[in-house]
Amino acid sequence: MVAVELIATPFLQHILLVYTALFVSIALGLPLAILALYYCLLRKVVMAGANLLQAIPTLAVVAIVVPLIGIGFWPAIIAIILRSLLPIVKNTWIGLSSVEPAQIASAEGIGLSEWEIIRYVRIPNAYPAIFAGVKFAAILANSVAILTAMIGSGGLGALVFEGLAGVNMAKMLSGAVPAILIALFFETSLNWMEKRLSPWRRAYL
């Protein structure tokens, strides 16, 4: 049996890593998506970047961060953001831009300003797409955060890699199993939150 205190610190580090990266991604991603509605060039750059960067293996992204930025906690955060920002921007933009033109027209008709249309028409309509993006990004961030232990971020990945180096199965599992539980927690909690925020829609599968 592995001692609880052995897991506690890496677990907290892991959570800190994932949540920091995720919050930065959301804080950057939503405004970027709204801006992309108005600037065609930004939209093209974001979409092309999203598709290209998504194809590149995570290990390569994490590796290339090392010579460019260095090792440690913040480079790891940047590596995770590089992975999780684009799905959020892409999904949010798709959600915001696929609102029915008739709804926009009637919102304009009752005299809503541009900002009010975004706030009361576009964003509520985009909830399912935004949540799908955030869920995807959260699960991605969780799995990249294990890998970034290679570049010295600490967290549950450190247990996995120490166990791997020492052929210590118990240690590897004490890193892997909590990470899986965190992933399942993200999945269920975000599903629940989506249902609470958009009760008029069926769950988005």
């Binding site: 194809a55 293996p57 290990l59 390569a60 590796a63 799995s143 570049i151 890193g175 899986i180 999945e187």
Partner: protein
């Protein structure tokens, strides 16, 4: 610049690493396509099993890839085999889900036309439903290609060889030259494969998508 690249390339034997990488990748992808399409087809024929099956596959999909590779160690050890198993486990969902959706969502008019021409149910499946599902299946395979490429690279950490191995060496030794050469090369490979898959997907969409 070019001399440095060739030096790293030769010293870390990247030609063989690339071949190794592509062999693992294509084995995993072929297995994933076979398993995925079969699963999609079986679920299409046993509709009641579809929701629980997709829920299970969805749950597997949320597992961090490294955690899955760790869980596979007691079953399959380390090296090439667990990497391929992990690739297949991750790739079944997109391929099976798209196959299922494609088969189930053929337009009723076309099915009616087929029946009026006297086609039997298996013929309707193979002559109408499958061709109509090609673009969606290709889309699923494209997602699987990206997933597989990522996991095969990751397999390098778990002793599977391929281009992940020099990347790991580069990170452990903090050697920018190895990281840049191997990282950019594997990035280019991934982007090219994804682009090729995208091309095939849109070709199929043009051929089978518009009726």
């Amino acid at each position: 610049m070019i001399e440095e690249i060739t030096a790293v390339w030769i010293h870390y034997n990247l030609t063989n690493r690339t071949i190794e990488h592509l062999v693992i990748f294509s084995t995993a992808l072929i297995l994933a396509v076979i398993c995925g399409i079969t699963t999609g087809l079986l679920l299409y024929q046993r509709r009641r099993l579809a929701p629980p099956a997709f829920l299970t596959l969805n749950t597997v999909q949320t597992f961090p890839d490294i955690a899955l590779l760790v869980l596979l160690i007691p079953i399959a050890g380390i090296g090439t085999h667990p990497t391929i198993i992990a690739c297949v486990l991750y790739s079944i969902l997109p391929i099976a889900r798209n196959t299922y959706t494609g088969l189930a969502s053929a337009s009723p008019e076309l099915l009616e036309t087929g029946r009026a021409m006297g086609l039997s149910d298996p013929e309707i499946l193979s002559l109408i439903r499958f061709p109509l599902a090609f673009p969606l299946i290709a889309g699923g395979i494209r997602i699987a290609i990206v997933l597989t490429m990522g996991i095969v690279t990751l397999g390098g950490i778990f002793g599977a060889g391929g281009l992940g191995a020099p990347l790991q060496t580069g990170i452990n030794l903090i050697r920018p030259d190895i990281i840049f050469v191997a990282g950019i090369w594997v990035g280019i490979l991934a982007v090219v494969l994804d682009g090729a898959a995208g091309g095939i997907e849109s070709m199929l969409k043009r051929r089978f998508g518009s009726w």
